[in-house]
Amino acid sequence: MRSRLRLADLLPVSTAGLRARPGRTALSILGVAIGIAAMVAVLGVTRSSQAEVLAQIDRTGTNLLTVANGKTIRGAEAELPVTAGAAIARTEGVLSAAATATVPQHVYRNDRIPAGRTGGLSVRVADPGLLGTLDAALVDGRFLDPALARYPAVVLGHYAAGALGIADVSDGPRVWLGGHWFSVVGILAPVDLAPELDTAALIGAPVASEAFGYTGHPTRIFVRALTSRTAEVAGLLGRAADPAHPEQVAVSRPSEALTARIAVTGATTVLLLGLGAVALLVGGIGIANVLIISVLERRREIGLRRALGATRTHVGAQFLTESVLLGAAGGVAGVVLGSLMTWSMATVRGWQTLIPAPAVGAALAAAVLIGGCAGLYPALRAARLSPTEALRSV
């Protein structure tokens, strides 16, 4: 002669209270859902954006180095020797090297534009080998070659082309560059590892020395090294570029900046996850509140169930299950909401949507756990309610 509640009956009896007050149920689910959604979205967005950065690094490679003029011991800007580019190209472990140099000129759409409206665009001398070294791509036209480099021909960076209003080179557009007409022969795709090229107009060295008195000192040399020897090569480049003053040469590895970006997002992620956890906790407290009210409102029902033979455990289990269900529903809603947020963010930014499966699992587990913890106290109260008192209440 035992009191027994079938497992198949526990679920409907636990949802009865939730179904009776759909508005309240929805609100208590919402609290947990917001917390879970925040956490899933944070993890999803970070993962999606990291994937994008990692893809960038993969595309551009970690074996690209840049050599730039550093500072002299007095703090003035040092100048790389004219021979730096050629010397670096001969260094062991270097696959290719391409020099660029800024030219103190400006580029305009035509000769009517006031000189002050430079649009922030720069003019750079570029080696014909730059495209290959950077592994960059063209949107339209072609890059400078040794022949073109002698003529007033220009290749525009991706942003520069947009700023100058040039979408393609089919109708032979010209730009006004340092007081000369230059023909636009090509437009670059965005260059992830050398964003300064996006705002540049690239011209050949011969035409630059002829028209603007370019002396041949490079300001930045892009170096593609053997992947396995990149670090070692980086140490050699200073001496190779300027044997007399290797300390005046600044060598850097652009992929490191991208790696650093991932590290930075990692730190922000922890912070945002913390905020999500706080939201989740508040959601849990919301559930506990609602359940305590529910226990008070349903005293008669509790008394009735006790009179019908429910043990304390049965009554407690009913409210605990209700709470776990609320948590789980909040978890599912949160995962859906968070995934949706990630998806829309990734779509707007043009990333691939990536939602880490362990995060989804952990979010659901956290939601159920929060629901369970929130339900403990109300369930205990319900279980401890004296049946005679519960039945007396109106």
């Binding site: 006790r306 043990t311 049946p387």
Partner: protein, 228 residues
Amino acid sequence: MTPVLELRDVHKVYPGTPPVASLRGVTVTVHAGDLVAVVGPSGSGKTTLLNLAAGLDRPSRGSVRIAGEPVERLGDRQLSGVRAHRLGVVFQQFVLLERSTALENVATGLFYRGVPAPERRRAAHAALDRAGLAHRAGFPVAHLSGGERQRVAIARSLVGRPAVVLADEPTGNLDSAAGDSVVALLHDLNAGGVTIVVITHDERIAASMRRRVSLRDGLVVADTGGGS
């Protein structure tokens, strides 16, 4: 004959300042097939007696046996089992699940026995039929009249064929016509073999019962069929 309900020198004191002695040595025995009215003015201890008989509370002193099981020696699980299997309780305010149908309400009488749902429904149909409400089975109880609601509650108390049905002022919330029909139903059920204890302060109802136990100030002052 085996007693289905046996209260021996039962005391019940509610803590407080000062403590309230609700029952002060009550001895009542109910046998299978009895139809007993427990009468008395407010505060005489009727409801306390019912709570003890229904296994919802424990005596401060003395012994309560429900179908032979000593209440004071049972843990929560066992006492709940006694309530689920041996007792049916009817309340003055019906205490129904308002959102459920009459049938579902009656079926909850078997809920804590671990009976599968289809079987509960079959038994609930039979109990509703006995209560004369078979035609209302699918109705939400919120749509039923007071008399019908109390019949649903009575059917719920019957559905598990308990050793005894305890009814606390079953007509207290009903008009006299509905009350009379409920009393008639209790008589019918008793004639069919159901042991029933009715707590009431309505002298007219009490007079219709075969046996009357009168309480006053926590003591039995009269028992027309006691000690048998």
